[in-house]
């Protein structure tokens, strides 16, 4: 049981586990959608970094990116897909189990 719980860490979703992507996914998990500028401000990442992480999340099917216009302003709208939400929930559960085990046995 001990090994199983700890080994579960190895199975953790690395796409989400990376700190910058975890921040992005955490923000998107509580909103319907957010644009690139909002994520840029909230995460504190550089433009290149943010776009690269979004690209990776989009590639995994966790985030959907839509380029649109609001009035005359171009907007890059991002939202978490069902697959992304489910992956994030699983990630939280897995980490919680490990943390609980460490609290109980540490």
């Amino acid at each position: 049981m001990t090994n199983d719980t700890l080994r579960a860490v190895l199975e953790i979703d690395r796409t989400i586990h990376e700190p910058a992507r975890l921040t992005i996914v955490a923000i998107l998990s509580v909103v319907e959608s957010a644009d690139f500028l909002y994520l840029l401000r909230e995460t504190g990442l550089t433009k290149g970094n943010l776009s690269s992480h979004l690209s990776k999340l989009e590639g995994e099917g966790y985030v959907e990116i839509e380029k649109t216009y609001r009035g005359k302003t171009p907007l890059t709208i991002c939202h978490l897909t069902d697959k992304g939400q489910s992956a994030f929930d699983s990630y939280i559960t897995q980490l919680s189990e490990v943390v609980t085990w460490l609290d109980d046995n540490g």
């Binding site: 990376e18 923000i27 957010a34 840029l40 290149g48 302003t73 171009p74």
Partner: protein, 229 residues
């Protein structure tokens, strides 16, 4: 869960960062005050009074609809190019709560207008001031609690105080209503303008059009990812 709520609250608060909501709410209340003042001005004159009475619901609905439209257009020009766009996730419970708040506003307005329209005793009119003050306070306190902005508690408190003072003073019907709505609208407008000024100073527009969203950018430090576990 607490951190998740904090993130959620922050996304709600984003809507109020620019003060545009308070400015337009302030203008709405001031226009309603103007309506009551006109009612007092034309008191005793049958035709203008009938026209004003018929117009009241249309004025309120028109204000709510048009101000929402105006706020959205202003945000497109002022807010989104500076701090970005976010839309909130609302479950059915939240939608029902919002609907209840709107119904509460409608009922409070309806009761007060009904009391004025049927010319009940001055005692009832006095209670209607307090009732509207309490409703106003409840709405603003709810928003303050929801988004965690202290300035809304101040506006809520001022609304309640104005309602109670006017109730105690037994101010004549339409004049009292005009004063009451001015006391709601003016603080809201002033606070909104102060917040907007600060917002514009703190957040110059960011031009992302030169950047464009690059899918092949490799600025990310993926080595850190490998070291994490």
């Amino acid at each position: 869960m607490e951190k998740k709520n904090s993130l959620l609250r922050k996304s709600y608060r984003h809507w109020y960062d620019d003060g545009l909501g308070e400015i337009t709410q302030g203008i709405q209340f001031l226009l309603i005050a103007l309506y009551f003042w006109l009612q007092q001005l034309f008191q005793g004159k049958r035709t203008p009074t009938v026209i004003l009475s018929v117009m009241m619901p249309l004025v309120i609905i028109g204000l709510v609809v048009s101000m929402r439209f105006v706020v959205n257009r202003l945000k497109e020009r002022i807010t989104y190019p500076r701090t970005g766009f976010v839309s909130y996730r609302q479950n059915n419970l939240q939608k029902r709560r919002r609907l209840l708040v709107r119904i509460a506003i409608g009922i409070a307005m309806g009761i007060s207008i009904g009391i004025l329209g049927f010319g009940l005793s001055s005692g009832s009119v006095a209670w209607s001031y307090v009732l509207i003050g309490v409703a106003f306070m409840a709405i603003y306190a709810y928003v303050a609690l929801r988004v965690g902005l202290v300035r809304f508690y101040a506006v809520a408190g001022m609304g309640l105080i104005a309602g109670v003072i006017l109730g105690v003073l037994h101010t004549p019907d339409a004049v009292g209503m005009a004063v009451l709505f001015v006391s709601f609208g003016l603080p809201s407008l002033i606070i909104g303008l102060v917040v907007l000024t600060r917002f514009l100073r703190a957040h110059p527009p960011i031009d992302l059009s030169v950047f464009e969203y690059e899918m092949n950018d490799t600025d990310v430090d993926d080595n850190a990812e490998e070291d994490v576990l």
